[in-house]
Symmetry: C2
């Protein structure tokens, strides 16, 4: 196996890349500027070296604690609960949320052998108590696993004096009724807002 | 800018990757096995270090001349002319061709300022004379640039005693007449084979 075939094989393990797109990228790299390829390879190694999970919220970070946990400008009374660290940057990209985060590092999934104790749920309850949190916003995925996890956390938080909310389900903005699936449309109806 | 943002930016410069797929890959790398990421980054650097164009046919190679040019089993009387080095592996993947190659390193394109002298066409003629080639198969792309290049090479080769052929144009195998574009269908009709 040549190094080019090996690179194509390694590239095709990346999410969303098949054999064809991996080969296209490998040939692009062959012809690309050397400094660009050095930067790309260097970045890959650097994120593996430097980036870890914040010990407080489990968001990806270089500093400890992360820049969100240590930012005095953020609303420290609100915690948004997400499944994965990458969900933090998705929510940050809306620029609508100014509180703190808590990453569970997964979702309850009996099929995959993931139970509540495998997630950072006890740590969430400890934070809510210690940090005197006023609202927990649950932003798990709208899937069976995410919903199960959300319901479990809602139960656990009932013992504490904290407001609990969940992201709204409904039609995607810019979407067309015709293309909405039945479940989404049903949730949009259930969650209809009086005007 | 964090190293993660920088990696996403560098990944999104790769062909076929947008901001979303680049971000998905970056987060995959964050969680991936360290040895895998080291291998991936190492391969990228290694192909830039080691792989060059064969001085005879301009195919990508580590050895000089390349493994095809130096293979005594290949039919040395036939040369297949392609635009880019990556086209060699595409044709090799058919396992239908056993001759030599000649990579032009581009195609005639007045808009991009690429003329016949910018391509390895003189070198092709020199090879045909020196190597006493019996057939040249032109396998440029079925585009305006590829066709222009093919016609130019056919003209130049007329002065030499060599058989010249071009890849057949027609319907893709497994395709449906309904989905064939008008030009492809017209070419398939022109090139119809008597049965």
């Amino acid at each position: 196996m040549t190094v080019l075939e090996r690179l194509i094989g390694n590239l095709s393990r990346l999410p969303g890349l098949g054999a064809k797109s991996a080969s296209r990228i490998a040939y692009y790299i062959l012809r690309a500027d050397k400094n660009y390829v050095r930067a790309l390879a260097g970045d890959m190694l650097e994120i593996k070296e430097k980036i870890r999970n914040c010990p407080v919220c489990a968001n990806y970070t270089v500093e400890v604690p992360c820049s969100i946990c240590s930012d005095p400008q953020r609303d420290r009374g609100t915690i948004c609960v997400v499944e994965e660290a990458k969900d933090v940057s998705t929510i940050e990209s809306t620029r609508e949320y100014h509180g703190l985060y808590h990453v569970l590092l997964g979702a309850i999934s009996p099929i995959d052998g993931v139970g509540p104790d495998d997630l950072r749920i006890d740590k969430l309850l400890a934070r809510v108590k210690e940090e005197r949190t006023t609202e927990v916003i649950i932003a798990t995925n709208p899937t069976v696993e995410g919903e199960t996890t959300a319901q479990y956390i809602i139960q656990r938080l009932r013992t504490l004096e904290v407001k609990v909310s969940k992201l709204a389900l409904g039609l995607p903005v810019g979407g067309d009724l015709e293309y909405a699936d039945r479940l989404t449309l049903a949730r949009a109806l259930q969650g209809r807002n009086r005007q």
